[in-house]
Symmetry: C2
Subunit: 250 residues, 2 copies
């Protein structure tokens, strides 16, 4: 079972869009996937058409001791939804013994999934640290814009620290270029800088800007259900194939 | 002295772009403006060409007791820069007595400014709460996309709580529509929903999507110095006039 955390404290870079559509893409490739929403804004939950306030078995309940009961969403895709009460979790967890390992232990008995994908908040607080302690791999969605590059060093240092002190098995699988618009010179320049700096740690599959990806959440569907022929679906399926280790279509 | 906090826990909605360019716009209108960077990613600091790691009088130092020494940036515009060590502040402040009022007290002796603009992290943690306790007004940059609408109720509730328990003078001045692209139906629909829901609390000046705004930070300049004739400069000057209470140009 591959456990992948999507982390980047820079906001609005495509973490949730990637969590939802990479999960759905892997499900299309017949992998059994569990998506875990660790953001109190419940963007991943809402993107798949689930009402957060109606859910009982939320990630907040699971962090408080409830047994995880994954909710089926599409074929081969389940979710552990979040709700607004998760907003208080960071303050509540702050004084708990082993506060960084609560999620890892809560999900320890999960069976029957090929992939567990963790969607995180735009911060490196306790919820994101719990995700890094639970995961075996980190993927970094990165918007191809100047400001998004700037926070990377803090993120890499935090991952290193979690690896050394809490989770020796943790490794960075790669950087996912998101919201790429080849018409903008700032995007081309930023992508060049990312590829020079991170070399083979950058996924070959780049996610282009595509308005369908921004529309799909308002219909509560993954991109494959909402607009299966668009660039967004093409790009996320190519990324899913690359993550699953399937040869790219020449 | 008007103290304005730009807050929205949704990431990437235009908080920093608005903090930098509204501040610079007000400075163009001959207001004396202090920009305070409360994000450890230092995006506002970097956007104005300042190297965070070279600064001594950072917001972290000020929260730890140093006297604020604003750094001049453009005419009529000063900044209190942030740096990476601010990332540890939330955990360090968590157990301090009166932890929510430390910034307010640290800035209490500031004189000679017409506006203080506070740029916040994409979260409602202790740094953002400090900003809400320091400010007299809240402005909410809101991206015209579906997911950005979803977190607003949590934000409004948090502002209400801070007003009741910590800062009775706090009020929401308005919502600033950001990154608006009239060609996208999702943007038009979202803007309609914002205006129906929030009525006169929505600023008349809308900020259109304009690639110059994304380029300016890589040159370390406000939009007025980098590309004074572009839509981005036009929109942020109109917003600055509206915030300063100057009649809109017909
Ligand atoms: N490739 C894309 N093309 C067009 N729009 C996109 C794309 N990826 C994401 N978006 C839109 O951009 C916005 C930000 O994306 P998203 O919410 O996935 O980022 P995030 O990193 O999860 O944000 P946060 O930091 O708030 O958690 C959303 O409105 C989303 O619909
Ligand atoms: N009106 C606009 N037109 C084009 N690009 C924009 C506009 N406003 C912001 N951007 C770009 O979009 C990205 C997100 O904006 P910004 O960093 O200001 O948001 P933020 O809310 O401060 O993000 P965070 O939540 O990480 O603090 C940046 O790369 C910025 O340059
Ligand atoms: Mg998200
Ligand atoms: Mg910002």
């Amino acid at each position: 079972m591959r456990r992948i955390a999507l982390v980047n404290q820079k906001g609005g870079v495509g973490k949730t869009t990637t969590a939802v559509n990479l999960s759905a893409g892997l499900a299309r490739l017949d992998r059994r996937v569990l998506l875990v929403d660790l953001d109190p804004q419940s963007n991943a939950t809402v993107s798949l058409g689930i009402q957060p306030h109606e859910q009982k078995n939320t990630t907040y309940a699971i962090l408080s001791g409830a047994k995880p009961e994954p909710l089926p969403v599409e074929e081969n895709l389940w979710i552990l939804p979040s709700s607004i009460d998760l907003a208080g979790a960071e303050m509540e967890l702050a004084s708990a013994i082993g506060r960084e390992t609560i999620l890892r232990d809560a999900l320890a008995d999960l069976k029957g999934f090929d992939f567990v994908i963790l969607d995180c908040t735009p911060s490196l607080g306790l919820l994101s640290i719990n995700a890094l302690t639970t995961a075996g791999e980190v993927m970094i969605p990165l918007q191809c814009e100047f400001l998004a590059l700037h926070g990377i060093s803090l993120l890499l240092r935090t991952v290193e620290l979690v690896k050394r002190r809490l989770n020796p098995a943790l490794s960075i699988t790669g950087i996912i270029p998101c919201m790429y618009d080849a018409r903008k010179s700032i995007a081309r320049e930023t992508l060049e800088e990312i590829e020079t700096h991170f070399k083979d740690k950058v996924f070959k599959s780049k996610i282009r800007t595509n308005v369908r990806l921004a529309e799909a959440p308002s219909h509560g569907r993954s991109i494959f259900e909402y607009a299966p022929e668009c660039y967004g679906a093409e790009d996320y399926l190519a990324l899913a194939r690359e993550v699953a280790g399937i040869e790219a279509i020449p």
